[in-house]
Amino acid sequence: MATETAERTGVFSFQVSRADLGPLVVDRLGLAPGEFSPLAPPLAGYAKGSGRLSAEAEPIAQEALAAKALRILADPSVRLLNQTGGGALAISQFTACHSHRVDPRAVAAIHPSFEGACLVQWFEDMAAYVAWWLILNATSTRAAVANYAPPPIRLEALVYLLHAVDAFRRRAYRSLLDYAPTERPAIAPAEFAESMQAAVRSRDMRWLLPALLNLTPNLASVTLEDRPEFPQALEQYGFLVPARERGTGEPLFVFGEAGLVMGVEFYRTWIQSVGFEATVRTPAGWRVAHRGFLAPTGLANHLFLFETDSAGACTVNHQAMGRDALDMKMMRLIGDAVEGKGLSAGAAAAPAPAARKAAARCPSCGGEVPEGSAFCNQCGARLSARQAAPAPTPTCKQCGAALAKGAKFCTHCGARSS
């Protein structure tokens, strides 16, 4: 019955409790999820034969499509990590996988924390997966809108522009609270700078900038430079224009054409976002195929694709797309990943804990910052070479990989940390 439905719709879903996952995957199906399988973390520490499959899970064990989905997840050749949240939604994560060895067409996805269990999905092909992904994450708009941040744009400059979009919302809320409508919203430079630091530090996904920085996988590891040209992007791209307050002559930023249009657009119609990253298994290790962030609004699907060059500079390709264009773009991105095209050169895809350098510590908040950063990406404080001192990094006793602070399990080999 489930198979008939799946053949008609191209999608098959089932839920399995954490307690049943080990008996199902390891004992019944005889699978041994590899280190980069999304099944590895929930199965960490499970010993073969140590559990018993419940009666509720027995039908799943009999279902051929369930077995296919789990086989793909256990042995992926392409991994598509998605982190959704932002706006009004809580953060959640799911990973979709493709496996050349198991099935050249199908895609499987796992949501490890869905209503207290794991939700697993099987898609008959890439088109079915992308169609579902768009329903989940994109807006249905078809009309073209102006792209106020056309490519290429440095990530550092984009940070300023997105905070300008958030700043418009701040001003809109302020004018509401003060019962002071205004035709020409403005913001003081000091408030802009302070609120940007707070935004970076906050990880509050209700705002666009923190949502981009924290939902996009591994974007926090990019080293941000500090150059005068980056804040100049505010005026160059028409987001904020320097002005003087009438009467006092105090410096102000007035919202320009881009700041007003995008400010209103996001203030009124932005609900959620998704950050995503595709990594591909190659003979030389895992490589990043693409990394992006999608912020849909009532007017457009704002797609941001990130590329890091060999010097560590991150450039962004931003497009404001209709639904059809986004559909084709995502098909092409994932198709290229499956075919191994356009992979990043150099170091293996993050996370590769054993390959990371020891992180420095911010003297202001104590957070970990990538070595060589000019600013702390936790609190926004300016760093110098003297201030950011390397700190000792805990390592896994089993495989030697670096451990995140407070980690109970190694994300590299799954071993419990002491």
């Binding site: 078809r142 792209n147 040209e229 791209y237």
Partner: protein
């Protein structure tokens, strides 16, 4: 953003270009004379005259190749889909070179990105046009867009500006992702045809026509819709801009019809029509 305005190869100097153009004009005259003599000769003289004709033809070809090799190849635009800089050949010295000859153009094969769709353009005359024997069709004097191209959901255009001797050129590059193969494009700037690839990668030649519906000079409307972006004159970084405010290409003075220029005379090559669906009629102006 770093400046990308430098030409990608060393172009000929003004003096070298002048010499090539003079020699090319002489060679073409010689070839015409040789062809005329060959056509009127009898069998006895034919081999000698054929050899002379072949020699002058080869010399003409060699000079065309020298001109083509010396043309500047400039960064003129940027793709709004990929951010990639687009380089294109252009005779920036004046409009008297065979790059601007709409009847016998001499242009290299361009290295263009996969998202390139078409190149149109305009040129505002900054001085009296040169006395050239060929028909130069540099477009109107005011930049325009082709509405039916921008009506395609996957097509966007970028307008920029470049000096062409004493004149000002306004190339308008059209980009598409993905390429809508089934629609008619627009003649390449300065020519009466365009070259494209079909979905199977085979090249083909086609042409559009200079009818009024092909020219929309209201650029602000297309910028607001997100279909047209612009690059500021003399912006070495070729940064794409989407704002109507501050756009230097709006409401420019100049003739708003496609120009024909021959022997220093300027006239309209707009094909007048009687309304939608009517067959185009009329043609070029005085010769």
């Amino acid at each position: 953003m770093a400046s990308v305005r430098e030409a990608s190869r060393a172009a000929f100097s003004a003096a070298e270009r002048r010499r090539i153009l003079k020699d090319l004009a002489d060679a073409r005259r010689e070839m015409a004379k040789a062809a005329d003599a060959f056509n009127r000769t009898g069998p006895a003289e034919a081999p000698r005259l054929a050899a002379a004709l072949d020699a002058s033809r080869q010399r003409t070809l060699d000079l065309c190749q020298a001109y083509e090799a010396g043309l500047p190849v400039l960064p003129l635009s940027r793709c709004p889909f990929t951010g990639r800089v687009v380089r294109h050949s252009l005779d920036t010295f004046d409009i008297d070179g065979p790059w601007w000859d709409s009847e016998r153009p001499v242009r290299p094969i361009e290295d263009l990105p996969a998202t390139f769709f078409a190149l149109s353009g305009a040129l505002r005359l900054g001085a009296d046009p040169p006395d050239v024997p060929f028909l130069c069709r540099p477009g109107p004097e005011v930049p325009f867009v082709v509405p039916r191209l921008l009506a395609e959901p996957d097509v966007r255009a970028v307008v920029s500006s470049v000096a062409v001797g004493p004149h000002r050129g306004f190339p308008v590059f059209y980009f598409a992702e993905p390429t809508p193969h089934e629609i008619l494009r627009v003649d390449t700037w300065g020519l009466t045809q365009y070259v494209a690839e079909d979905p199977y990668g085979a090249g083909y030649v086609s042409r559009s026509y200079d009818v009024p519906v092909e020219f929309d000079y209201d650029l602000a409307r297309w910028i607001r819709r997100g279909k047209l972006l612009w690059i500021a004159p003399d912006d070495g970084t070729l940064r794409l801009r989407s704002l109507v405010e501050g756009c230097p290409y709006l409401d420019l003075p100049g003739r708003r019809y496609p120009l024909g220029i021959r022997h220093g005379e300027v006239f309209s090559v707009l094909i007048a029509t009687d309304g939608p669906g009517a067959a185009p009629k009329g043609g070029a102006g005085p010769r």
